[in-house]
């Protein structure tokens, strides 16, 4: 009964989404305030019904109701509770339902939080949100119904793929979806601005917090996914340039570009058309990602052609929204009045360069991801485009960006002074160069790693040059001056330093050590600066798996510094085994040990790694997100601005543009 209620709620949500898609638009057209205002309550109702449906599915998973196809295929009664809950989104149907849930959360947030925006803009934005919601709800109901039942209920389920039974799964998809789908809000506002025909700095002020939120979640989601892959897949890699990963990287690149160009629009009223285009692009790439991951096209172009229902549906959504938005863009973009002018060497100019590089980098990822698919569809040839391609295209584009970032921060709006900027960055440049020389002389190693590490140090120090300069000058105590700086200044510095940290972590992979060893208990194996000794190999048993654990101690100079317990787990239901890596964090580096084989004679074959500074890769992402959060809390640009001026006399956009 609960399950049927959930199914029915989903159908109701679809009907509400249709209503939300049409009625407010009529309101905008007729300048009817009441029709426009209906958008808010419908958006909230739609969220309530989708949440109800989602709760019903979660309930079915928790009580192991195997009469549901979805539960039977992806759950097992012995599965731990946390994986029963997170297992809801560990499969196609449930994950699409989560997608729709996040979408409705976005819609409800727009209805609740953006109080000062003009009613026309909100009504139009919520209507576009309604269109997206209706399309995806129909997709779920028509092709991926999670509430489908069996006529005869099986007694036991087939369990969740063991690789997905991990705390990482509990966090990664929701974060990623909040990011992916969060860009739908930006998209809706861009479309709404085109529909209403007005676009100015006020629009950017309203929309920028949404971009920030989506960008933060996407940053965290990608980082989380990469760490998850790193510790579950058991061979120490954290980024594989897999199409699924690229699918999340592309919206991130476009979103990062959007974030920067919005600040130009907000401060200087320039780059309007480009901002709108990027807003459309960021969500289009999110949709593309959804298509790549959910249509089965990655599994095989042929599989896609054989069972096209889902793929074609998402493709239709993709074409409808991207095409529709671009047509709207083409029709209305020329009505937007161009804003402020600026010299090529200026903050605006630097941000344009940032945008150019980010979009081009995004394009290289796009080509690398879709070229194999296109080639297979056209010629039948199967190729793989892997790390070498991306190392040759993406990396050379992004390293200059790292170099340019601190300079951009130093340039003034309208007209900047490159020489002055370089002077203010003397210390940072010096530190970077010293690092490069010191690393080259003392440590050696790959040239790219040395250069990237030097760049990272320059970037981290250079990010704070502006803050340092402003703190050391002027009246009062240094600390109070530092705290008195606008939060947005701190936010930029912190986020940029986060990129620097990640870059340093990436560069340090060049100094990693990798061993494959046959280990006997008591025998020490040296990995980098550490000695690993297996003390005991013994069997164990978990809730739904059997395992062999190799208890291992790590010594540095004879002293025990850590203990790890890598294991080989076997899941009987799916007849699958997987290695559970043993990881010890020592400083910023990690010792990583993964069991490959447990031999009959009491030895084990293991992959052993020493990865210096590796966790900086993810700490950097956390720092970036922290920068985003700080920017969000800045009264002048964050949510506070939006809510504080509730009831302000002059709305940013005029009512009823038509």
């Amino acid at each position: 009964m609960i399950v049927e209620t959930g199914h029915y709620a989903l159908v109701l949500a679809f009907v509400l989404a249709l209503f939300q898609a049409i009625v407010p638009l009529i309101g905008v057209r007729l300048a009817d305030a009441q029709l426009m205002r209906s958008a808010r309550s419908i958006a909230l109702m739609q969220f309530a019904f989708v949440a109800l449906a989602y709760a019903a599915l979660t309930y079915a998973h928790v009580v192991s109701d195997f009469s549901l196809v979805n539960v039977y295929e992806n759950s097992h009664s012995a599965k731990p509770l946390v994986y029963k809950i997170s297992g809801v989104w560990g499969n196609h149907e449930g994950s699409m339902l989560l997608w729709v849930l996040v979408l409705s959360i976005c819609g409800a947030s727009v209805a609740l939080f953006s109080r000062i925006m003009p009613e026309t803009l909100r009504a139009a934005a919520l209507a576009v949100q309604g269109w997206i919601g209706a399309a995806f709800l129909l997709f779920v109901l028509a092709t991926s119904n999670p509430f489908a039942r069996f006529a005869d209920a099986p007694l036991e389920g087939r369990d969740l793929n063991p690789i997905l039974q991990d705390p990482g799964l509990a966090i990664h998809p929701p974060l990623l979806y909040l990011g992916y789908v969060g860009f739908s809000v930006t998209f809706s506002f861009a479309a709404a601005a085109l529909i209403c025909g007005r676009l100015d700095a006020g629009w950017a002020r309203i929309v920028r917090p949404w971009v920030l939120v989506a960008w933060m979640f996407l940053t965290l989601g990608i980082a989380m996914g990469s760490y998850w892959a790193y510790y579950t897949l058991g061979w120490g890699g954290f980024w594989f340039w897999d199409p699924v990963e690229n699918a999340s990287l592309m919206p991130w690149l476009a979103g990062t570009a959007l974030l920067h160009c919005m600040s130009v629009m907000q401060k200087r009223d320039a780059l309007k058309i480009w901002t709108i285009f990027l807003a459309i692009l960021a969500f289009s790439l999110s949709l593309l990602g959804t298509f790549l991951v959910r249509s089965g096209v990655l599994t095989s172009v042929h599989a896609f052609a054989n069972d096209p229902a889902r793929g074609v549906f998402i493709l239709a959504i993709l074409v409808l929204f991207i095409g529709g938005a671009l047509i709207l863009f083409a029709l209305r973009a020329n009505t937007l009045v161009p804003g402020g002018v600026f010299a090529p060497v200026s903050r605006e100019g630097a941000l344009v360069l940032n945008n150019l590089i980010l979009t081009c980098a995004c394009a290289t990822v796009f080509i690398g991801t879709l070229y194999p698919l296109a080639l297979e569809a056209l010629t039948g040839d199967k190729i793989s485009v892997g790390a070498p391609y991306f190392n040759l295209t993406f990396v050379p584009l992004c390293l200059p960006l790292a170099l340019a970032m601190p300079f951009g921060q130093q340039l003034a709006w309208k007209r900047g002074n490159l020489l002055g900027a370089a002077q203010r960055l003397t210390i940072a440049i010096g530190c970077g160069l010293v690092a490069v020389i010191a690393l080259a002389l003392i440590k050696g190693g790959p040239v790219l790693s040395i250069i990237a590490a030097g760049l990272a140090i320059f970037l981290i120090i250079g990010s704070f040059a502006d803050i340092a300069a402003r703190t050391l000058r002027g009246e009062g105590h240094v600390l109070s001056r530092a705290l008195g700086l606008p939060r947005s200044a701190w936010a930029t510095s912190i986020a940029h330093a986060g990129i620097g940290l990640t870059l340093f972590g990436l560069a340090s992979t060049g100094w990693g050590v990798e061993e494959i060893a046959r280990m006997r208990p008591g025998q020490a194996v040296t990995v980098g600066p550490y000695e690993l000794t297996v003390t005991e190999i013994k069997p164990g048993r978990g809730p739904n798996f059997d395992e062999t654990v190799a208890h291992t101690v790590i010594r540095a100079g004879g002293v025990i510094v850590a203990q790890i317990n890598p294991a080989q787990r076997f899941y009987p239901v799916r007849q699958m085994s997987r290695a559970e890596a043993g990881i010890a964090t020592l400083g910023f580096g990690q010792v990583y040990m993964s069991l490959a084989e447990v031999n009959r004679n009491g030895t084990i074959d293991a992959r052993l790694y020493w990865k210096p500074f590796v966790i900086l890769i993810w700490i950097g992402a956390l720092v970036m997100a922290a920068g985003g959060l700080l920017s969000l809390s800045d009264r002048r640009i964050g949510f506070a601005y939006v809510t504080r001026r509730r009831g302000a006399a002059a709305p940013v956009l005029p009512q009823a543009a038509e």
Binding site: N161, G234, A343, C360, T364, P372, I383
Partner: protein, 155 residues
């Protein structure tokens, strides 16, 4: 600087970055893509020794041999052709005789495939169609299982 000159600088910069990106992409696509063949295709196309490629198929029953120093050899078959493969290193967990496998490497002079990377994939993308169908018949390959059923090892 006039408005026109500013605009030209902007367009110039855009074309510059765009041109560099295009150049890099074309250069990278020329040398850094790896073709995927089944054993029968390797024979039919007379792939030259030393060219990097990926091969995929089933590990032939009874062909798996362990030599010293963790090197292994096995035969990959797609039902129509077969290809001997050698590999040094640790095999992924999902590696079994009679199951799907993808190996990356190149042919040596004697026509043996020297793999430096072995992936056990239950994934149609990396499998000749006949093999995928055979696997489906045996009930080994789980249709629609996602990228998570991928396991790989790099030497």
């Amino acid at each position: 600087m006039t408005r026109r000159a500013r605009r030209l600088t902007l367009i110039g910069a855009a074309l510059g970055v765009f041109g560099i990106a295009i150049g890099l992409v074309l250069f990278a696509l020329r040398d850094n893509i790896v073709f995927f063949y089944s054993p029968a295709e390797v024979e039919a196309r007379h792939v030259a020794p030393g060219v990097r490629l990926r091969i995929g198929g089933l590990v032939e029953q009874g062909s798996f041999k362990r030599d010293q120093n963790r090197s292994v050899s096995f035969v990959v078959t797609d039902g129509k052709g077969s290809l001997p493969v050698t590999y040094t290193g640790i095999l992924p967990d999902l590696f079994r005789e009679g199951q799907g496998v993808v190996a990356e490497g190149s042919l040596d002079q004697g026509g043996t495939f020297r793999a430096d990377n072995v992936l056990a994939k239950h994934d149609e993308r990396y499998m000749p169609r006949d093999v995928a169908d055979a696997l489906k018949k045996q009930g080994v390959w789980q249709g629609g299982s996602n990228a998570a059923s991928t396991q790989g090892v790099t030497r």
